[in-house]
Symmetry: C2
Subunit: 774 residues, 2 copies
C-alpha cells in the first residue's frame, strides 16, 4: 500500500514533469521557426503569415526578444480570453462544446470536493478504527470511509452526501444539456447559405460547408429498377412523393477503384520525389534502381525515368477509370444526396419514412460534406445487420481477452507481488526512491501502452459496421473505448490488483454480491488511481501542449522536403481533438471522481487539477492548433451525458455494496432509490433534450425559410447545390494532375489530403494524414 509520502513523491515527479513540459512549450512556441507547429490553425484560416519572410535572418528562427521569455505562462490567460461565441465562430461548435465537458467536470467536482472536505473528511478523520485494527493503513485511508467503524451511525453522513452529490450532478447535467441543445439549435439555425462564400479561400470551408446541411437529405438503399437508372429513379421518386419541394439531387459514385489508383500514384510520386531530391543533392550521379522484387535484383534503370513513365501510365489509367465511372451507370451507388427547396421540406423528408419497406429509401440528414464517409454509403440493409452482429461479437472478445495481459502487468506492478515473484530483487526494490518510482509510474504506464493501440482497432470496427459519417464513426469508437476502459481499466484494476487470487471466487458470486466485492476493494485502490490520474492525466495533458511528435515531424519535413510555401503548409499537422480517444479518457475521470467522492474524497483535488489543466490546455490548442475535420454541431453531447449518468449509477451501486459490508445494511433501501431516480432522470433528460440532436423542428425550419426568402428572394439554389456533395477523389484527381508533389501517404483511400484553394468540401489534411505520416 502506498503511503502519503509515496503519493507525495509521485505527485512531485508528475508536477515537475508537467512543469517541464510547460516550460519547454513556453520556450519553443515563441521561436518563429516553430510558429507553424504551435499556431497552425491561424495559418489555415489565412490570418497569420509565415514569420520566415522578411526581417533579420536569425530572428526568423530564434526569438531574440528576451522579454517574451519572462512571460512564459502568458498563453494561459490568453487561451481563456476568447469569449465562447467567438470561439464557436473560430473553431466550430464541436470544439466549443467539447471544452464544456471539462467545464462540467469543474462544475460538478469543485462543490462536491468542498462539501466532502468540510463535512465528510472530518467525520472520517475523527475515528480510530484503523489505528485500533491490525491492518496496515496509510494516512490516505484515514481520510476515507475505511476509517469508520462497522455499523457506525456516522454512515448517515455518507448517505446524505451521496444524495447531495447525486442531486448536484444531475442539476449540473440538466442545465448543461439544456444549454448545449440550445447552442446546437442556434448554431444550425444561424448557418447561412450564401453561394458566393463558396468561392472564397479554401480555409474558410470550415463553417461554410455547414451551409448546405440545411436543406439536404441523404437517401440510401435505393432499390434497383430494371428500367431506370438510379439517378432517374431518385428524381422520379422525390418528384412524386415530395412534389412541391424537391429541387435536385446528386448521385454517389463508387470510386473505390479510382481512389486505389490515386493512392498508388501517390506512392510512386513519393519515390519519384525521393530520387529527384537525391539527384538534386548530388547531380553527378544519376540515381539507379533495380526493377525486381523489392529492388534487390533485376535490371538497373534510371530511377527518375522509371517513375516518370510509371506515373504517366497510371495517370492515363486514372483518366480512363474516371471517365468510365462518370459515363457508365453501373458505378452509381444506390444512394444520393437530395436537395430541397426549403429547409422545412428537408426536415420533413429526413424525419419521415418514405417507403412501405422501411429498409428501402432510407432518408436522414445529410452529414456535412467533409463528414461523409463515402465508402459506407452503399451497404445494403441485410449486410448492415450482419456486420453489426459480427462486430458486437468481435468487440466482446476484444474487451474480455484484453484483460489477461493487463491483469498480468498489473500484478507485476504490485510491489509485494514483485517481491514474492522475484525475491532476489527485494533489496533493490526496497530502496525508497525506486519503490516510490515503481509504485508511482509502472501501473499507469503499463496500461497506457496497451491502450495506445486500441483506438485504431475500434475505428476500423466502426468503419466495418457501416456508419456513414466521420462523426458517427468517432462517436461509436468513443463508446466502445469507454466500455473497454470501464471493464479493463476501472474494473480490471480494482479486481485484479487486489483480488487476482479471488478472481475465481468472484466468478461464482451472486449478482448482488458483485457490487459488494468491488465496493470493498474500492477504498484500497484509491492510491493507485491517484497515481493513474497524475501520470495519465496531468502529464498527458502537459505533453499534449508540447506537441513533440508534430514538432519533430514538421522540422524533419521542412528540412528534407519543403521546397515551396505550399509544401511548408502541407508539412503542418494541426491534428484534431480526437473525440474517439479524448472523450472516453475524460469520462474515466468522471467515473473515478464520482465513485471516490463519497469513499475517498482525497482523490478529488487530483481530478479537479486535471480538469483545470486540461481545460486551459485544450482551449489553447483549439484556438491555436487543432483543425477539426468536420463539424457535427455537438452531436456527441447525448453520449457525454449518458456516460456521466452511467458513472453516477455505478458509483451509487458500489457505495451500496461497500456500505452493506460495513454492517450499515439498513441504508440499502435508501441507497437503492438513488440509481432508480438517476435512471429516471436520465430518461427524462433524454426525452426532453435528445430530440434536439436527432431531429430538426419544423417550426425552426419554417422560420429560417421565411427569413431567407425575405432576405434573398432570387437565390438560385440549384446551381449552388449542384456540386456540394461529390466524392473527394474526383477533386483529388484533378488536383494531382496540376500538382505533382504530394508527400503524404494515406490510411484511408478516399480522403485524399490535397490542398485546393478554389473548391469546397475537401477534407482537410489533419488527423488522419498526421498520424500516419512518417
Amino acid at each position: 500500500m502506498a503511503t502519503l509520502s509515496d503519493i507525495g513523491v509521485s505527485a512531485a515527479i508528475n508536477i515537475l514533469s508537467a512543469f517541464a513540459f510547460f516550460l519547454a512549450f513556453a520556450f519553443l512556441r515563441i521561436q518563429p521557426v516553430n510558429d507553424r507547429v504551435y499556431f497552425p490553425k491561424w495559418y489555415l484560416k489565412g490570418l497569420r503569415s509565415s514569420p520566415l519572410r522578411g526581417g533579420a535572418y536569425v530572428s526568423k528562427f530564434v526569438n531574440l526578444d528576451f522579454r517574451s521569455y519572462a512571460r512564459f505562462l502568458s498563453w494561459m490567460p490568453a487561451a481563456l480570453q476568447m469569449p465562447e461565441p467567438e470561439l464557436i465562430d473560430h473553431a466550430g461548435l464541436d470544439s466549443a462544446v467539447y471544452l464544456r465537458i471539462y467545464k462540467i467536470g469543474l462544475k460538478i467536482f469543485v462543490p462536491i470536493a468542498f462539501l466532502a472536505f468540510t463535512i465528510m473528511v472530518p467525520v472520517n478523520w475523527t475515528n480510530k478504527t484503523l489505528e485500533r485494527s491490525n491492518l496496515t493503513y496509510s494516512d490516505v485511508d484515514k481520510l476515507s470511509i475505511s476509517n469508520i467503524p462497522m455499523g457506525s451511525r456516522r454512515f448517515w453522513t455518507h448517505l446524505v452526501m451521496a444524495y447531495a452529490f447525486t442531486f448536484w450532478t444531475c442539476y449540473v447535467l440538466k442545465r448543461e444539456y439544456e444549454i448545449v441543445a440550445a447552442m446546437r439549435l442556434h448554431f444550425l439555425a444561424s448557418a447561412h447559405r450564401r453561394p458566393e462564400q463558396f468561392t472564397v479561400n479554401f480555409h474558410m470551408v470550415l463553417h461554410l460547408a455547414l451551409v448546405v446541411v440545411g436543406a439536404q437529405v441523404l437517401v440510401r438503399n435505393v432499390p434497383p429498377d430494371p428500367d431506370e437508372s438510379i439517378s432517374e429513379l431518385v428524381e422520379h421518386f422525390f418528384l412524386v412523393n415530395h412534389p412541391d419541394h424537391y429541387l435536385t439531387h446528386q448521385v454517389v459514385y463508387d470510386a473505390n477503384k479510382l481512389s486505389e489508383l490515386v493512392n498508388k500514384k501517390k506512392k510512386l510520386q513519393n519515390w519519384f520525389d525521393y530520387y529527384q531530391l537525391k539527384y538534386s543533392r548530388n547531380p553527378s550521379r544519376k540515381p539507379l534502381l533495380k526493377t525486381g522484387f523489392l529492388g534487390l535484383w533485376g535490371d538497373k534503370v534510371d530511377a527518375i525515368d522509371f517513375y516518370t513513365s510509371k506515373i504517366e501510365k497510371l495517370t492515363k489509367e486514372m483518366n480512363l477509370e474516371r471517365d468510365k465511372i462518370m459515363s457508365k451507370g453501373n458505378s452509381v451507388m444506390p444512394a444520393a444526396f437530395v436537395s430541397f427547396k426549403t429547409r422545412w421540406a428537408a426536415a420533413v423528408c429526413a424525419q419521415t419514412q418514405q417507403c412501405r419497406n422501411p429498409t428501402l429509401w432510407l432518408t436522414e440528414w445529410a452529414p456535412e460534406p467533409r463528414d461523409v464517409y463515402w465508402n459506407n454509403l452503399a451497404i445494403p440493409y441485410v449486410s448492415l445487420a450482419i456486420r453489426r452482429l459480427v462486430i458486437a461479437v468481435a468487440y466482446f472478445f476484444l474487451t474480455f481477452f484484453f484483460m489477461i495481459p493487463i491483469a498480468f502487468v498489473q500484478s507485476l506492478a504490485n510491489i509485494e507481488g514483485i517481491e514474492k515473484a522475484v525475491p532476489f530483487l527485494k533489496p533493490i526494490i526496497e530502496v525508497k526512491v525506486i519503490k516510490s518510482f515503481i509504485q508511482g509510474f509502472l501501473p499507469g504506464i503499463a496500461l497506457k501502452i496497451f491502450l495506445i493501440f486500441l483506438p485504431d482497432i475500434l475505428m476500423v470496427m466502426s468503419k466495418f459496421e457501416g456508419f456513414i459519417s466521420q462523426s458517427a464513426l468517432e462517436r461509436r469508437a468513443a463508446t466502445r473505448y469507454y466500455i473497454f476502459q470501464f471493464v479493463n481499466v476501472f474494473l480490471g484494476s480494482i479486481i485484479t490488483g487486489t483480488a487476482f487470487q479471488q478472481l475465481d471466487n468472484f466468478i461464482h458470486q451472486s449478482a448482488n454480491d458483485i457490487p459488494k466485492t468491488i465496493g470493498v476493494s474500492i477504498p484500497m485502490k484509491a492510491t493507485f488511481f491517484i497515481t493513474y490520474i497524475m501520470v495519465d492525466g496531468w502529464a498527458g495533458v502537459a505533453g499534449e501542449i508540447l506537441r513533440l511528435k508534430p514538432l519533430i515531424i514538421y522540422h524533419l519535413k521542412s528540412f528534407f522536403l519543403v521546397k515551396t510555401d505550399k509544401d511548408r503548409e502541407e508539412a503542418m499537422d494541426p491534428g484534431t481533438l480526437g473525440f474517439n480517444t479524448g472523450e472516453p479518457q475524460i469520462q474515466l475521470y468522471f467515473l473515478l471522481g464520482l465513485v471516490y467522492a463519497v469513499v475517498t474524497p482525497f482523490l478529488l483535488p487530483f481530478i479537479i487539477l486535471f480538469f483545470v489543466l486540461a481545460f486551459v490546455v485544450y482551449r489553447h490548442q483549439i484556438i491555436n492548433v487543432y483543425n477539426q475535420e468536420y463539424e457535427s454541431a455537438a452531436a456527441f453531447w447525448p453520449d457525454v451525458h449518458r456516460r456521466i449518468i452511467t458513472a453516477l449509477v455505478v458509483s451509487q451501486l458500489l457505495l451500496m455494496g461497500l456500505l452493506s459490508t460495513k454492517e450499515a445494511a439498513q441504508s440499502t433501501p435508501l441507497l437503492i432509490t438513488l440509481p432508480i431516480l438517476t435512471i429516471w432522470f436520465h430518461r427524462f433528460c433524454k426525452e426532453r433534450y435528445q430530440p434536439a440532436f436527432v431531429k430538426y423542428p419544423l417550426q425552426e425550419a419554417m422560420m429560417k425559410d421565411t427569413l431567407e426568402r425575405a432576405r434573398e428572394p432570387n437565390l438560385n439554389l440549384k446551381n449552388f447545390l449542384q456540386n456540394a456533395y461529390s466524392h473527394p477523389v474526383f477533386k483529388s484527381v484533378d488536383e494531382t494532375e496540376t500538382e505533382p508533389a504530394s508527400q503524404e501517404s494515406e490510411q484511408e483511400p478516399v480522403l485524399i489530403p490535397t490542398k485546393r484553394r478554389s473548391r469546397t468540401s475537401t477534407p482537410l489534411p489533419s488527423k488522419h494524414s498526421g498520424s500516419s505520416s512518417p
Copy 2:
C-alpha cells in the same frame, strides 16, 4: 410426483368438462331465447332481427326442430368457413390478427412436436437412467431429458433439436410479421373517407370511424399563451408551420365534471326505474323512502316524486355545466385534433418534431375516435414522466409481493406437503380419486383465482400512467400482465413448488447459477404445467364459448328490466376479445411450449390441443359474439412478436442451465450462440417490420391522396371532419334527455354506453359496461 395415470384422470376430467361445456353450448345456442346472447354481433350489425317476433309462442323460446340438436358441433366448421378477408371486413383487423396468434402457435408447435416425437422421444425412452436410479419417477419422466444419463453423447440430439426449433420458430415469426405488417398497411390504405357513410346505421361505425384516421393528427401539450385561446393558437401554429396543408382542427374540452354529473344522474335514474317498477307491480302502495343517511332515518317521502325532482335538478345543472364548458375558454384542454388536406401532410406532421422544445406541440397519429381515452389528453409532460416512475415502482412491488400468497397456496397444493402439514387428513387424501383430483385441479385453480383480480389493477395503472388511447392502455396492461405471469406463474411455480426450502439458498446464487437452478427444476414441473394447461387452457376456452355470465345476466335483465326492443338490445353484452388478459395467457403457453419442447416433449400435444380449441372457439366468438370497442389495426403485433422471442430466449437459457448440470457442459458455447442469434434476429425484425406499426410511409400516403383526389375531386372534407372527434359525454348528454331509461352503471366516467343510431363515434356498450353490470 404425478404419474401418467394421474394425468390421465385429470385429462379425462378436463376433456369431459370441456365436452360438457360444448354440449351445453350446442344446446343453448339454438334456443331462440338465447339468440341475443350467442349472436349479438349480428344484431349489432343489424343483420339479424329478434326471433321473438312472430311465429308460434313456444318456438319463440325453445327450439323444436330436433334435427338441429343432432348437428350439435356444426358451429365448428361454420366458424372456420369465413375467409380471412371477409373476417376482417366483419370484425376488424384487430380480431383477425388476434386469431393469427393461435395459428402461429399451431404453425410453430405442430412441426416441433412431430420432430420431437419422432427423434427426441425415442432417444430419451431408450435409456435406463431413471430405472437404475433410486429416484421416484413417472412414465412422463421416462420420455423427458431426465432419462438421459449424465454426460451422455445423446445430448447432441437435444442440442441439434434446440437449433432446429429455434430456426423454425424464427422462420415462422418472420413470415408472420411480414404478413401482418402487409395486412396492416393494406387495411389502413383501404380505409375510405366517404361522408355519406357517416349517416348510416350506428352499428356500421366499426369500420367507418377508421376513415377519419387518415388525415388527422393529435397535438398535445400546446403551450399556454396569454394573448390567444388554445383554439386560435393551434390554428395559427399550423397555419404558419404547415401552411399548404392545414385544414381545420377540433379542440378538446375538459368534460370531467360534466361526466361526473352524467354518472350521478345515471344512478338516480336507476333508482327511479327501480321504484317505478315496484310501483307498477304493486300499484296499491306508493313506494316511500327515508331521506336521511343510507335511507335509515329522516322524513318519509314518495320515492318516485323524490327522484323525479332530483333528476330534474341535476339535468338543469348538467345543462349549465355544458354551456359553461362550451362557452368559456378555460375548459379547453391544451390538446387538439388537427385535420389536414391530405394524408401526406398528416403523415408528415405526425412523424416530425414541431417545436424546438420536444415536450411541447407533441404530434402523433390521432387514434380512432372510439379509441381515444379522453381523460388523459391534458396531462403535461413533467407529470407524465413522474407518473411513469411512480407506476414502475408500484408495479415492481405488486409483482414481487404477490408472490407470497401464491407460493403459500402452491405449497399447500402439493400432496406430500399437505400430508406433512396435516397428517390426520392423510387417509382421506390417499383415496385415489381425491388425490388425483387435488393434484389435478388445486394448483391451477388457486393461481387462477389470484389472477382474476389482476387485470383491473393493471388497467388502472396504465390509465394513471397517461396513455391516450384504449388500445395503448390495453397493450401496456398486457405487457405488465405477461411479466407478472412470467414471474409469478412460471418462475413462481417452478421455484416455490420444489424449492420453497431452497429459496433462501437461491437468492444468494450467482447470475450463471440461476438458469441452472431453474433448468434443473423444469423437468420436474412438467406434470404440474400439463394440469395447468388442461384446467386453465382447455376448460377455460370451453367455458368461454358457453358465456355463462352474460347468459345469466341477459336473462335476468330481460326478465326484470326489458320493456322495449331497445332495452333488450342494451341488455346484450357482446364483450370484447380482452387483449389485456387474453394475449398474455396465450403467451404463457408459448413460453411453456418452447421451454418444454426440448426438455419434456410430452407436454406439446396438450399445448397443441389448446391452440386448436382456442382457435376454433375464438373464431366463432369473433364472428358471432364479440364487438370490439376500437380498431387499432393490429398495433399490438410487435408486442406479440417480442414476447414469443422472449420465450424463445428464456427456453434457450434454461436449456443451457439444465445441460450444464448434466455434465454436458461442452455444449455451452454452442448453446450460448443461440440466444445471441435470436436477439439479433429480433433486432433485425424490429427494424425491418416495426416501422409499419409506428410510422406511415409517405409513398403510401401520397398514392392514397392521388387516388382520392382523382375519385372524389369535390369532397368537402372540412364539414366532414368537423365533428369527428368530440368528447362522448356531450353526445350522451343529448342522449339522456331523450332517453330516460339507461340501466348500466359505468366503471369509467366518460365512456357512457348509450345507444345512438344517428351519430358516429360513440363507444359501443361492450366490455366495460358488460363487465361491471350486475
